[in-house]
């Protein structure tokens, strides 16, 4: 055996999968791989399979700065074909940052809906958290999906939640290491014309225990929550329009750990349908006038709502061609870094570089003859190995 072979042999002996050193070093290397490669390497040997399948590996991978730094997007396309509603959930497997490069482009996508069976009308991308997307439909079906590993889990039905009546939120409780879905149902009991009582009931699903739990308090609340919440700082946030006509709308937040509601004031100069998280802050996009934007610069401080001019207003104004309404009703989805903004509307998903004042379409809605698909929802997610299944 020559010297070179001897050295490689010595390394191989040291990194034979049974040695602790080997696994420690291999873990360091494996954590740096794209998820697709890591999944593929599960079948290399039993030690690797155990290492990669361990939830601890997924957690470590999730917390790496390079994991957090890259974003991908997912959309729901909704259209009609042959008088049937046809919905497609498409996950893009290219990082958004790759698109901003001149050479970057060409999206890789795969259609997910076919795997999971029938969804009823109005499928919604509720929110994403740690690479898990939560998908709900009007029938009350809730699915947790990791597009990077292609694993999904349909939550057990909660028979107490009536179809179409829930307001949904999805998030993570770090102290219990648990992903939770919260459903707020408003119940109106009409006893007579004068005697109407409003009750709000809250049900929370814990992925860790794979169980639904009723939060006991059935409070008197006459709030009308907008259906879908956004998760930030441990709480799910809805916009609430009160039934009494002169009340200001508010942001209602449900703390998933403490299981308590709190309210925050919000600006009232425009109609807002959804609160989003942009650059780590709560953000409101005007529905009628999308250039009207408010950002809550300091979370929880009502006075920190700051009005900003939507950074892409200049392109909105530049569009002289009325028929070419590519920025019509654009909503700011998120900022990728200080310069890049991700915008979307029914027609297109746009990446706008505000430093260079250039834009690029990441995705355009499909229009084939009579088939017309709108982009109904869009969400960003990170590529992770986090499992959507209960840890049993």
């Amino acid at each position: 055996m020559n010297v070179e072979e001897g050295r490689v042999d010595r390394f191989k002996k040291t990194v034979s999968p049974t040695s602790e050193l080997a696994l420690e070093i291999m873990e360091n290397i494996l954590l740096r791989l794209p998820v697709k490669s890591v999944i593929r390497f599960k079948c290399v040997c039993k030690a690797w399979h155990t290492l990669i399948s361990d939830p601890y590996f997924a957690k470590t991978h999730l917390r790496l700065p390079q994991t957090q730094a890259r974003s991908r997007f997912c959309i729901i396309e909704d259209g009609e074909r042959d008088e049937h509603n046809y919905m497609v959930i498409r996950a893009f497997t290219e990082d958004c940052e790759a698109f901003s490069d001149e050479t970057g482009g060409g999206s890789l996508a795969f259609d997910y809906l076919s795997d999971i069976g029938n969804f009823k009308r109005e499928v919604v991308l509720l929110d994403s958290c740690d690479g898990l997307l939560c998908i709900v439909d009007l029938g009350g079906k809730i699915v947790l999906w990791n597009p990077s590993t292609r694993q999904y889990y349909q939550l057990p039905r909660n028979p107490d939640i009536r179809e179409g009546c829930g307001c949904y939120g999805f998030g993570y409780v770090s102290s219990s290491d648990d992903y939770r879905v919260v459903v707020v149902t408003s119940l109106i009991n009409i006893y007579s014309k004068l005697l109407v009582d409003y009750k709000t009931r809250v049900d929370v699903f814990s992925l860790k225990s794979n169980k639904w739990k009723r939060i006991q308090k059935e409070e008197e609340k006459d709030t009308g929550l907008i259906k879908y919440a956004t998760f930030l700082h441990g709480a799910a946030h809805w916009i609430a329009y009160y039934n009494k006509p002169y009340d200001d709308p508010k942001i209602v937040a449900f703390d998933l750990e403490k299981e308590q509601f709190r309210e925050m004031a919000m600006p009232n100069d425009e109609e807002y349908l959804k609160v989003r998280v942009v650059g780590g802050c709560l953000c409101l996009n005007g529905y009628n006038d999308p250039t009207k934007m408010w950002v809550m610069k300091q979370y929880g401080i009502d006075t920190s709502w700051t009005k900003i001019t939507a950074p892409y207003t200049s392109i909105l104004r530049r569009s002289n061609d009325i028929m070419n309404q590519q920025f019509y009703n654009c909503e700011l989805l998120d900022t990728l870094n200080d310069d890049l903004l991700l915008l979307f509307n029914l027609q297109k998903l746009t990446l706008y570089d505000q430093k260079k004042n250039t834009y690029k379409y990441l995705y355009e809605k499909r229009m084939w003859f009579e088939y017309d698909y709108d982009i109904d929802h869009a969400s960003l997610y990170v590529e992770t190995l986090v499992s959507p299944h209960p840890q049993l």
Partner: protein, 150 residues
């Protein structure tokens, strides 16, 4: 000035500012366990030379703060890892033993980039790993995640 002595008897005179980059050595020095000549039993002279070269370069460049210097250092690092596989693996082991985080990061990332597109069979050959799955077990895992193999 500190002297390192490799596994095969080669000696290297190192400035103290460079020596402390090797955290294992730094701790030895702090604990008073190090004499004038520090033995490095797990690392050959050839590899120790490379490790010292890396640490020297990074200590020198640590003083410059601009983008151009940072880009230059990245380019230097990229060249540094252009070695044969056996040497690369040896540097990883040395960086791990001597606790030099940035070198360990660099070399592990290099290996990761090298293997990311490989098939499981190629991985086994690269690292000398025996497949301890039965054919049925392996087939089961492949079927579960078919998309990853396309």
């Amino acid at each position: 000035m500190i002297t390192f002595k490799s596994y095969d008897g080669e000696t290297f005179d190192i400035d103290e500012t460079v020596a402390v980059e090797l955290k294992t050595i730094k701790h030895m020095m702090e604990d008073g366990c190090a004499g004038n000549e520090i033995p490095v039993p797990n690392v050959t002279g050839k590899i120790l030379a490379k490790v010292i070269e890396y640490c020297k370069k990074h200590v020198e460049s640590g003083k410059a703060e601009d983008q151009a210097a940072s880009d230059d250092l990245k380019a230097w690092d990229a060249d540094f890892v252009k070695v044969d596989q056996a040497t690369l693996f040896d540097i990883i082991l040395a960086a791990n033993y001597l606790d030099i985080k940035s070198l360990l990061d660099l070399t592990c990332q290099t290996v990761a980039d090298m293997i990311k597109g490989k098939t499981p069979e190629e991985i086994r050959r690269t690292f000398g790993i025996t497949n301890d799955f039965t054919p049925e077990e392996e087939e089961g895992i492949r079927r579960e995640n078919q998309w990853a193999f396309e």
